[in-house]
Amino acid sequence: MKQVAAIAYYEMVHILKDKILLLLVFAVPLLYASLCGLVYFSGILTDIPLAVVDLDDSRLSREVVEAFENSPHFQVVPGIDTYAGLEKGMKEGTVRAGVVIPEDFEAIITQHRNTEVLTVYDASNLIWGFNIRKYTLEVISTFNARYTATYLAGLGLTEREISNALNNVRSNIEVWYNPTYSYANYILMGLYMIIIQQIGLLCVSLTITREKEKNSWLQYLCSPVAAWKIFLGKSLPYFLTNLMNYGLLLCFARSVVLVKVEGSTLLILLLGLLYSITITSAGFYLSLWAANSLQVTRYLLLLSAPFFMISGYCWPPTHIPEFINNTARLVPLTWMAEASRLVTVKNLGAPYLVDNILALTVMALVSTFFALTFSKRRNPPAPGGLEVDCGNSYPKRD
C-alpha cells in the first residue's frame, strides 16, 4: 500500500506542477460546462422573428395577426408587407417565420368560399423548424377555438352550448419530464457526460505516455513494483478528480444553469462511480498503448463529436441503424448519457436502469481487469527514423 500511496502522491505532485495538466484536470471541465451552460441557458426559443404579410387588412385578418402577436414566442418584425419581402427576409435570416393572409380574405370567408392563411417557417435549421411549427400550431388552435366561439355566438348560441360544442372531446395534453420543451433540459446532461468522458480520458491517458517520453517509464519497469500497484497509484488522483468533476458539473447544472437534476443521489453517485472507474482504467490502458501524448490528444479530441452523435442521446436510437447502435453500445458515454437522462430528467429509480448499470459495471470490470494486469514488458521502441511523431517523442522547443 505504501508503494501505491507513493505513486499516487508523486502523480499528484506532477499534476500540480504541470500547469496545463492542472487546468485540464481542475478547470477545463468546469470551463466547458460553463460555456455549454451559457449557450443553452435560455433553453427555450422566444421572440422568434415573424413577418406578417397582411394583404387583406380587414377585421378578420387583423384577428389572425393579433393571435400571432399575442403568442409569447413570436416577435413581429415590422416593415415586411409583401411576399417578396418575406422571401428576402427568410433567405437572409432576418425572419424565421411568416404569416401570409391573402387579399380579400374576409370577403371570401363571408361568401363561404375557400381560402387559406399561409404560415411558413425556416426549416433549414430544424431546431427553429420544429419549435416554430409547434408554436404556430398552438396559435392556430387557440385562434380556431376563438373563431368558432365567436361564430357560434353570432348564431345566437348560449355560452353553455358553445362550450359544449367546443369541448365535447377535449384533449388534455400532458408533457412529462420536460414540459417547457427546454433545450437545456434535453441536451445539457449528455454534453456534460461527454465532457467528463473526454477530458477524463485525456488527462489519464497522458500519465504513461509522459513517462515514456521522458524515459522514466524504465524506472517503473525495472522496479520490483507490481503492475496493479502502478495502475492504482497512477490512476487514483484522476479517478478522484473525475468523480469530483462529475459531482461539480451536476451541481453546476442544477444550481447555476437551472436545468432539471432530480433523482436519487445514491443512484447518481453509483453511476458516477462506475463511469469514473471505466474512464480512468480505459484511459490508463490507452496510455500504455499509445505511442506518445500527441497522438492520444489528436485522436481523443477528434472522437468527441462522433461519440456524442452516435450515442442516440439526440437523434433517437429507434431511428438509427442497428450497426451504429451496436457500435455505440461499446462506448461508456452511450450508457451513461442515457442513464443520466433517466435519473436526472425522468427521475426514475434503479429498476429502470438495470441495463445501464449492468453495462457500465461490465465496462468498469473489463477495463479495470486489463489495466490491473498489464504486462511490464514493453516492445522496444523503434528508432524514430523517417516516421515523424510515431516514436516516443514529438516536436518541442524546450
Partner: protein, 387 residues
Amino acid sequence: MQNKVVSSMLRQCLAVMRREVYYLWRDKGLRKILLAGSLLGLLVFYATYSAQVLKGIPTAIVDLDCSRESRQLVEDISNTENLKVVANPGSFAEVEELIQRGEVVVGVVIPENYAKSVSLRRQVNLAVIIDGSNMIYATNAANTVLAITGTINAQAGIKTLIAGGMHPDQAREAFSSVTFREEPWFNPTLNYAYFLVLALALNVWQQCCMLTACMNIIGETGRKSWSLLKAAGVSKFMFFFSKSIVQIALFILTVLPVYYLSFNVFKLPLACSFWVFLLFTLAFALALHATGTLVSSFSRNAVNSTRFGMIIAVPSFILCGYTWPLEAMPQIVQQAAWVLPQTWFFQGINYLTFKDPGWTFMAPFFSALLVIAVLSYTAAALIASRS
C-alpha cells in the same frame, strides 16, 4: 541576375513544398486522420441519420371504452403518418410504465364512457401524455398530437352542433372556415439528414485541419533540424509560406471527396453553385489554417499546440449556432462566437446549402474569414520572427 534570384527562390519554394508533403505523409497519425477522418465522419453521420425524417413515433393507445366510436378514434390516430401505434395496453398505469421505460413517446388514453359521453354531448377528456425528455421526439410528437386532437375536437363539435339542430354546412363552417396551410421552407420534408449530416462531417473536417495547422510552426521550430534550416539562411517567410500552401491545398483536397459523396451520392441539398461553395470553403480553410498557425507559433511544443487548437475547434460547433441558434444565446456569447472562423463558416454553409441568398449577402462572410486569416497570419509572423 534578377531572373536567377527568382528561379532560385522558386526552386527553394518547391523543395520546401515537396518536403512538406513527405512530412505530412510520414506523420502516420496525422496521415490517417487527414485521409480518413472527415470521410469516415460523413459515412457515420449519414448512417446515423439515415432515417432522415422522424416518422413513426412509438405510441401507445389505451382504449378503456371499446366501443365503435372509440375504435374509430384508435384507427384515426393509427393512420397518422407520424405516429406508429406499438402497444395497446389495458390501463393507464401500463402507459405510464411504457413511457417511463422509454418504449413509447406518446400515450393516449380513451376513457371508459367515451362513446356514451359523446352521444350525450357531455364533456369527455382524452388524456394524452408526451415524453418531453428528448426534445426532438417531443416537438415532433406534440405537433402531430396537436394536429390530430384539433381534428378530433372539431369533428366532435360538428356532431354536437348537428345534433343540436344546426345545418351541417353551417356546423362545419363554424369549425373550419379559416384554413391554415403550413409550408416549411428550404427543407420542405423536415429532413434531419439534410440539416445535419454535411455540417457534422465538416465539423470533423475542420478539426482534422486544425490538427494539421497546429503543427505548422512548432512542427519545425520544435525539431532539431530547425537549427540546420536557420543556418542555411532560408527566409522564414518563404519557408512557412510554401508549407502553408501545401497544407491548405491538402485541406481542400480532403474536403473534395466529402463534397462529392454528399452532393452526388447522398444527394444532400446545395442551393448555391458548387464553385461558390468551394470558394467559401477555401476562404474558411485559409482562416482556419491561419488560426492554427497562430496557435502553433506561441506554443512550447506540439502537444500544447494541439490542445490549444482543439480547445477552439472542438466546442466551436456548439458555439457557432448551427444547431441551437445564436439568437437564443446570451448577448455576450453571440459576440464572442463571431470571433471564431467556424461561426462564419457554419452560418455561411447553412445559408449557401439551403437558401443561396446571393453575393451581396455573403460578402461579409467572405470578408470576415479573410480578415481573420490576415490578422492571424500577421500575429503568427510577428511571434515567430521574435522567438
